[in-house]
Symmetry: C2
Subunit: 288 residues, 2 copies
Amino acid sequence: MLGAIEAGGTKFVCAVGDEKGKIADRIQIPTTTPEETIPKVIDFFKQHPVEAIGIGSFGPIDVNRESPTYGHITSTPKPGWKDYPLVKTFQDAFDVPIGFHTDVNAAALGEATFGAAEGLDSCLYITVGTGIGAGALVQGRLLQGHSHPEMGHILVKRHPEDRYQGRCPYHGDCLEGLAAGPAIEERWGEKGIRLADREEVWELEGYYIAQALVQYILILSPKKIILGGGVMNQIQVFPFIYQYLEEFLRDYVSLPELSEYIVSPGLGDDAGITGALLLAYQAWTSEQ
Amino acid sequence: MLGAIEAGGTKFVCAVGDEKGKIADRIQIPTTTPEETIPKVIDFFKQHPVEAIGIGSFGPIDVNRESPTYGHITSTPKPGWKDYPLVKTFQDAFDVPIGFHTDVNAAALGEATFGAAEGLDSCLYITVGTGIGAGALVQGRLLQGHSHPEMGHILVKRHPEDRYQGRCPYHGDCLEGLAAGPAIEERWGEKGIRLADREEVWELEGYYIAQALVQYILILSPKKIILGGGVMNQIQVFPFIYQYLEEFLRDYVSLPELSEYIVSPGLGDDAGITGALLLAYQAWTSEQ
């Protein structure tokens, strides 16, 4: 049996399953402090013994295996989690191989294996929710270099009529600051889900997401783009994304039909936890 | 002996050498029409027989090996070169393995093997000249997905005081439209080389290049960034790039010391042709 942890800012999803993505059991644990949350995670895996654990974590995290702080959550503002040694904690508790990547890289792996990008060696997975993040599979491997990508914080051009100042604590009006769920709520005065029929909300959202996709496409050239996260459940945003993407790219690159190229997750909300199972399998096979 | 071709929009550089990057002989041929240019390239390799040829080409090109137009230059406006079957032409002439990538991907490979990123499995090579392009090595492999990257055409925010309209025929004021050599010349009325002591020229150039680097860093997280091409010979632009990059990123990601992270090519103008030699070597070894 393999173990999977999707470590998020609001909840930890823990699951056991197999390398086919089949989940045998799962639990959700609220993310409060490490002292409260982690023992419950450990309890779950004591009840469900596993041969390896894959972790897809909120970040920023240290994914550099040569670093002394490999496996740590690094500079999060979330109380108690800064510099928390996630990998070491589970290695100490279970002595099994541990796979470790960002939550969005895990989701990209899940989608490329069993989801909307099944069978492809390249895809981009973007989540638009309380924050914006993205992960990517590039030529069959999860993208990482100096560190993991931080694609949610790219610069965007403001819409000329958008007077909202943006709410990223670092950059103000970066992509996340202008287009994540809390920005939508603050700009329009209500949560996105209550604004479903307000066309101007989704046109503006499409304007910013399309800009981000222009940059991702021109820089990474993914074979498929998957848009997940709560905000992207408002599927009325997709036609605006396609429209602005065409306007911005102006046929400069040849792309597949946009409605087949830029899609919702094939695994729904399970992309991340499925990818974490696959990270566990990779960690297990690399030690055989 | 290995053969290398750096196929550029103004000249073809042809060389023979070895997998250590040592060049034994070379020639430059002006890029006019295929009917004029290609026979001279073929002549060179008839005089210098090789066991494989690596091509780093101007683009867009088709790098998808499963495509019926693999190895073609695709949609260039350059007369005679649209849909030109570059790889097939040399395969027919010499019957040796052919390696094929963009000129900038070849340069990235050259720099990661013998240049400023020597020994790293990850780097980004950007050229700023008559156009802007970039290639990247990601986890030891040249970046490609649906197609090759087209990083020179990413969107940038205009400087609030920049009234120049931009000159990209596709996008107007994309990065290339605002920051390539011809844009500098049109905006300021003289070639960049004659504007060396005009601080405002290089501050504005640094503003746009730094924006591009923000996007590349947040999306790809390269281990080293190399800025080549004629415009980047104006090294007085580097301090402005560092200054704006810090302003835009606001310490959100942890980077090496910028003056060591963002550097000039270690191979000077030979990054591309050296990378093409390495592409030849890769093609040769993959067929042994």
